[in-house]
Every structure is written in structure tokens, then in C-alpha cells.
Subunit: 219 residues, 2 copies
DNA sequence: GTCTATATTGTGATAGAC
DNA sequence: GTCTATCACAATATAGAC
């Protein structure tokens, strides 16, 4: 029952066609970048004809938007869930580091794709939050920052932490988590690490990075 | 004497044509990304006809490569020069932070462009070093890492620093420097900062970041 | 070297049969 | 819903006059 043009499909032929197209589109857009992606390649990867992409998504633009929406809706909530939880600062740091390293290890191009989209379609940065929370970005992040800020403040009064604005806390931590993936080709070549060695470096980083980061905060 | 098709040119009409094309190409490739850039837009920005781009550079591919080569040749040497210098660790950190923040502030898309190129043309990562130093990447970075490692080790014996591999030192510092630019649209929206506020944040970071980073290393 | 005009292909999108 | 065939135009690249 396998149709001949599904020979090159990598998507599961049993799932819903629209979803299969979306999955294929995600893979191709992320791998090639939005501008570099070709409808033909997406169709092939989905195991369908190019015309079907237009039947379901009307245009490349809309398909790209659907892909970004899907990706954004998955990542951000998890991150802010961790940062806004009741866990201790130490647990938040460890949780976020592990979360990022595991997620990005599975998808080498993902970080670059998101950064590129945000630069070339800044309006989607907003979308990203409303998609995730149905709320204004500021009203979404504010309570989380307030909570984090409160935790920091309490520890500062305790004398166990030095003061830092919660925004700086978040930016520094997220930078340290994501950039080793975004700049992976650079670091691998610069330090002469093959794929296996870099994976080991990242795995070790789940312990090393929290230690480094928390030490920076220590009073 | 201004020719009519130079009306839209932003490049200096007095400089050498080949150089003017290269400058225009750099601007457009960095702004739009390599796949999103159009030869027509480059020609217009250079104030010449599209045919001239091919006369000088043969194809879009070669032009893109020339642009990357030019950019790579400018950035890396400076970075490794600072890291490999005789300055103290504290001065290296402060120097690198200021260097990055100043350079990337002037060109919002630059970090994303380089990261994207490295992902989509991994072979250029190598090029980037050979271009900068005429040497094998490993043989270029190794002495710098050795020197940095020696400095760290001496300070560890002194009891003023905790041990850290020089590679981790570099990766963490560079991550903290570049990522706030690579993810600028995200952070601006998340924290509700307009352009002016983000510039102030980056300016303040020239002091804040060295303090944060050095504290992380303190024994 | 620089231009205009044009060839050639690539690529998103549509028409219409089944 | 899915396909084949094709359109329309965008984009890279070349030919040839000046």
C-alpha cells in the first residue's frame, strides 16, 4: 500500500497528512533556515506532492509561521516553568542546564534557527510569548522575574548570595546554556574536538556549569 | 559625473569598484543571511549593475565566500590576540568583554550571520582560522590555550583562583559576551526593554560581566 | 570596466483530473 | 485529499555593445 513517492519520506506514513507535512517542514526549515528551505524538499521528506503543502498551508510563508509557532510553543513554557517554580535557586540552575543540554543535543540546528528567525522576524518574538502563554510578554515574564528576584533578595539578606538583578541572572544563565550549541562548529574546530569529544564536554557540563554559575553568585 | 544608477548606493562612490561591491555584499549578506541575500540588492547598494558582480566575483557563492573570508579575517585574530597576550587574567577578561560589546553593538546581525554560516558551511570554520593565521586551527589555538592554562594554574597554586580548563574558560566567557547580541530580540521582548534601554544594559555589562565572571573563578 | 539586454534555471504557486 | 502538469515570476548568470 506504500505509494511510490513515499520512497524518500522520513516521516511516519501512518500519521495524519497535515501533521506529517508540518513535521517535515520543521525538520527542513530548522536544517536549512527559512530562506534556504525548499518546498520541494519538504514535500519529499513528508512523502507527499508539493501541491499538498499549498493545499494545507496556502504558502511557504504561512507554513514557516506554523513551524515557528509550533517550536515556540514547546520551548519557552518549559523554561519559564522552571525559572518560576518554587524550587531553590540551586535546583533551578541545575534543572535549566540539564533541560537545555538535553533538548539542544537532540537538534543541532535548533538554536541557530530560532535566533535567526527572531532577528529576521522580530515580530515573532512577541508571538512566541503570546503563543506560549496567551499573554503580553511583559505580563508573562514579570511575575517570574519578581519571584526569582524575591528568592535572590532573601538569600542576599541571609548573606549567602551577592546581589544580581533577576534579568541578568536569566541572561547569563541562558547564554551559558545555549551558546555552546549555537557556536558548536566554531568551538569544535578551535579546540580540536570531534563529535564524540564535544558530546562528552556537554555531558560533563551538566555538572560543571551549575557549579561555575552558582559560584559566580556566591557572596 | 554621478551615474544615474548610483542614486541608491550607500557605499562611498570614490572607492575602488571591487571593494565597493565587497562592502555592499558584506552589508547585505550579514543583514539578510546568505540564502536570503539577493544579487540585485547588493548591486543596488554598491551603486553598480548586477553584471559587474559576476565580472568581479564570478558567482554568488564565490562572493559569499569572499565576504565570509573578509569578516573572519578581522574578528578572530583580535580575540585570540587578547586571550594569548601577556596581560593578567583580569585584564584579559575586561579587554575581551569591551572588545565584543563594542564590535557587536555596531553590527546587530553580525553574530547571527557568523553562527549561521558556521552551521551551514562547517568547512568554513577551518577556513576561518587558516585565513586568520595561515595555520592549522589546532596549532593556532593550542599555544594560546597553553599560555592561558599556565596563568590559571599559577593562580590556582597561589590560592586565588579555582581550577578551570582553559577551554571552559574561553567558552564560558565568549558565550556571556556574544549571546546577549545573538538573542537580543528575545531578551528585549521578554524583559520589555526598548533599544535605548538595551544599549544601556550592554554598556553597564562592560563592568558587570567581568565582575560576575571573575567571581565565578575565585577560589 | 561598465552597461543593457537576454538566456537559463530555480521555485513558489495554481489548474484541473481523479 | 491527492496527484500530474504547468504557470508565472524571481534570481543567477551570460552575451555582446560601448
Amino acid at each position: 500500500m506504500i505509494k511510490p513517492n513515499r520512497r524518500t519520506a522520513t516521516a511516519d506514513p501512518d500519521t495524519d497528512t497535515e501533521q506529517r507535512i508540518l513535521d517535515a517542514a520543521r525538520a527542513v526549515f530548522v536544517r536549512r533556515g527559512t530562506a534556504g528551505a525548499r518546498m520541494q524538499e519538504i514535500a519529499q521528506e513528508a512523502g507527499v506532492n508539493q501541491a499538498l503543502l499549498h493545499y494545507y498551508f496556502r504558502s511557504k510563508d504561512r507554513l514557516a509561521e506554523a513551524v515557528f509557532r509550533q517550536i515556540a510553543g514547546r520551548i519557552l513554557p518549559t523554561v519559564f516553568e522552571v525559572l518560576g517554580s518554587d524550587a531553590t535557586i540551586e535546583d533551578k540552575v541545575r534543572g535549566l542546564v540539564t533541560l537545555y543540554i538535553d533538548a539542544l543535543s537532540a537538534s543541532p540546528f535548533l538554536s541557530g534557527y530560532i535566533l535567526s528567525e527572531l532577528h529576521h522576524h522580530p515580530e515573532r518574538a512577541r508571538q512566541l510569548f503570546t503563543q506560549a502563554a496567551g499573554a503580553d510578554p511583559a505580563h508573562f515574564a514579570a511575575p517570574i522575574l519578581r519571584k526569582l528576584g524575591g528568592q535572590i533578595e532573601a538569600r542576599v539578606r541571609e548573606g549567602t548570595l551577592r546581589p544580581i538583578a533577576p534579568e541578568r541572572f536569566a541572561i547569563n544563565l541562558i547564554s551559558l546554556c545555549i551558546f555552546p550549541f549555537a557556536a558548536r562548529p566554531l568551538f569544535q574546530v578551535a579546540f580540536g574536538l570531534d563529535d564524540a569529544a564535544y558530546v562528552r564536554f556537554l555531558e560533563r557540563r551538566k555538572r560543571d556549569l551549575p557549579e561555575f554559575f552558582l559560584n559566580a553568585l556566591r557572596a
